[in-house]
Symmetry: C2
Subunit: 455 residues, 2 copies
Amino acid sequence: MKKRAILPLILALAIISAAGALASEGASEATTHNAAMTFFTIALLLIAAKASSLVERFGQPSVLGELVIGVVLGNLTLVGFHMLEPIKSDPIIAFLAELGVVILLFQIGLESNIQKMRAVGLRALLVATVGVVAPFALGTWLVGPWLLPGLPFNAYLFLGAALTATSVGITARVFRDLGKLQTPEAQIVLGAAVIDDVMGLVILAVVSAIATAGTVSALTIGWITLKALLFLVGAIVLGSLLAPWLGRLLSAIHTGVGMKFTLAIGFCLVIAALAQLIGLAPIVGAFAAGLVLDPVHFRYFKDFHIVEDMKEAVTDADTATRNRVHAMLESHSHRHVEYLIEPLGHFLVPLFFVMTGMAVKLETLFDLPILLVALGITVAAFIGKIIAGLVAGNVRKSLVGWGMVPRGEVGLIFAAIGKAVGVVSDSMYSVIVIVVILTTLLTPPILTSLLKRKV
Amino acid sequence: MKKRAILPLILALAIISAAGALASEGASEATTHNAAMTFFTIALLLIAAKASSLVERFGQPSVLGELVIGVVLGNLTLVGFHMLEPIKSDPIIAFLAELGVVILLFQIGLESNIQKMRAVGLRALLVATVGVVAPFALGTWLVGPWLLPGLPFNAYLFLGAALTATSVGITARVFRDLGKLQTPEAQIVLGAAVIDDVMGLVILAVVSAIATAGTVSALTIGWITLKALLFLVGAIVLGSLLAPWLGRLLSAIHTGVGMKFTLAIGFCLVIAALAQLIGLAPIVGAFAAGLVLDPVHFRYFKDFHIVEDMKEAVTDADTATRNRVHAMLESHSHRHVEYLIEPLGHFLVPLFFVMTGMAVKLETLFDLPILLVALGITVAAFIGKIIAGLVAGNVRKSLVGWGMVPRGEVGLIFAAIGKAVGVVSDSMYSVIVIVVILTTLLTPPILTSLLKRKV
């Protein structure tokens, strides 16, 4: 076991050295198109991500391994190795990573059930509301003025706003890695995260307006809210109406598996793009797309080859066997679209989490006063969301609360906009970055230990 | 049928209008990240590609549909619609398309058999050699001076060199679309295309050196040839030795389907990247990677869920049924890696062919004198490769010859470099572009009618 655990390390080092050699080779031959470098980068990130699945041996979800290996790869400059730095600003890798989290939320939407979501809808709304109000209040009026005294009120406003975010990717991966996506707790967190994103959109508009103009009109707030709600309802209602029609239409052109795949992925990308144009996160659109698509929309398309062959192989069998085989195939049939999307997930999803890890700047943790302030605010960030879990009704409240904790890139967007309008200072920006890092990296192990604990 | 054929058209128009609306919306909101536009572009290209599979109703391979719809989308400026123009220069779409053709050649390598390839190796070498010498001679000493008189000799040299290229993507797709990839003709074309790429590398170095320095050293030629051959032999020999070891190593970390996928795709990307750094086309590396990888390297990994469930479903069945099912599963098992890569192919491969079509500038065909010259040279380009087919031995020689005809982007690289060193004039460049367009667009229907003709 020990010997085996060392091999991947050697492999990773060999790949990193080779990447270095390639990078200098590439630089010396100016005519070399940079696709080679990108191919190599993708291979490196994927193999590193998979090698990190060793964390599963210690009972941790593989997403934690991907984040940690990303933090390691992204901070090799601390030991004088700078060759991986260009990866951080590579626009193609950044796009693939973003597509990765869109695919992940699409997969999670496909695996979720719109009826189940509706059943927890009210509780999700409650959790989302408290999960926005509590951290906002804590940040703006308590820990902000207490730990970072003497700043203008607008700065605390942005801090509070940054704490309201919920980045659902991490939590969804943990629930999925541990096979708990179908629990009511997971469904509540997913629903609350979608609602939270709508609220976040409104809050961002409001605090930006207050910080720049000193005021905000109710009309603006109303319009942003309406637009977001219309989009979500529209995506789900119109999507549900359009999907069967699209299925029939596209199957009239071709009934192959390729068309089936294109219908699914095209639907996902269009709704994700529309969500982003409205101002919502594209992952919210992708999740809605997955929620709307139903196996029944794909019934006109061909099955996998292996399924057809299986049916044929048992035509002469006894009735009991035939029934058993058909029941088994039936139990898989609703997952065919998920199977089709899965390899795309294997390709793209790890890129997102490794890149998320790589974006972590460990040197921000080295400034002790800032680190201490950030730790205090992180505790407030934890508490704000744990309080939200308390209103989740008759489920394991701690699971819901901790599931809402990761702030991810959404928190950073608040911080970046606050910095851009001159309200958030450099040190407050660093504090928010550390809070995002800690909520992101600490949640997977905490959630895992909660999920594994007997109730 | 007629009514059904109109629906996809309406759909395509609706999508194009929506894209336009989005594009202007996107432009007006400067803060909107451009991922939304890229998501939308991918969806548009994929749906257009799949809608074009209507050509199958007319017995044509779907790759022809993808090329033609690409030509249509890429030339909408001729009817005053300019909204799709940014797609042509989008670096992310360009990368995904390039990755697409790499994945295609990897799939074709996986479906090919190294023993079969070796069996046709000598004939492939012969075909490649004649397929380089004949078009080169025709271009440099016959049709060049005849149809474009009065140019310096170096210009004819580049024209001849541009005609030697073989772009295997198109032919491979036609053979694959029609289920003829396992025929000796297809294997000879694939082998000859790989050898042709090595020869092309040497020719490019030689003509560039002659055009700029007026001379070339035997040492340079020898070194380039050696490097390319070493890479190919190295990729296949070292790859064959490393693959089983990598399979064991990675399965020691994790035996899941995700790791299996990562092993396959990582192997493909690394060898494709190395090929490009040597100066070969990345698709040559990807093809070699697919050729080397064997189902046996993946035996330590888990099977698909559905396969395990099938085995379980027939445990109580009679012996005959059990044997039949196990034989059926066995016959599929060597294709599991291909099944894993397939969805990635559905996602990326159409992007390559639609983008290839979009790169066609129809207005180049509007200059009558240039068009006539280009038609003459295209005929020479056809003849040069058809002669090569004659040395293919005891197979359908016309299939091999026509299979070598498409020049694709490789011919354009020669033209572009010739233009960069000032040897190729603007009108000769246009001529080469038209030759590339015609060899690329005319080959699929011709090859299809040859393949469907009774021998």
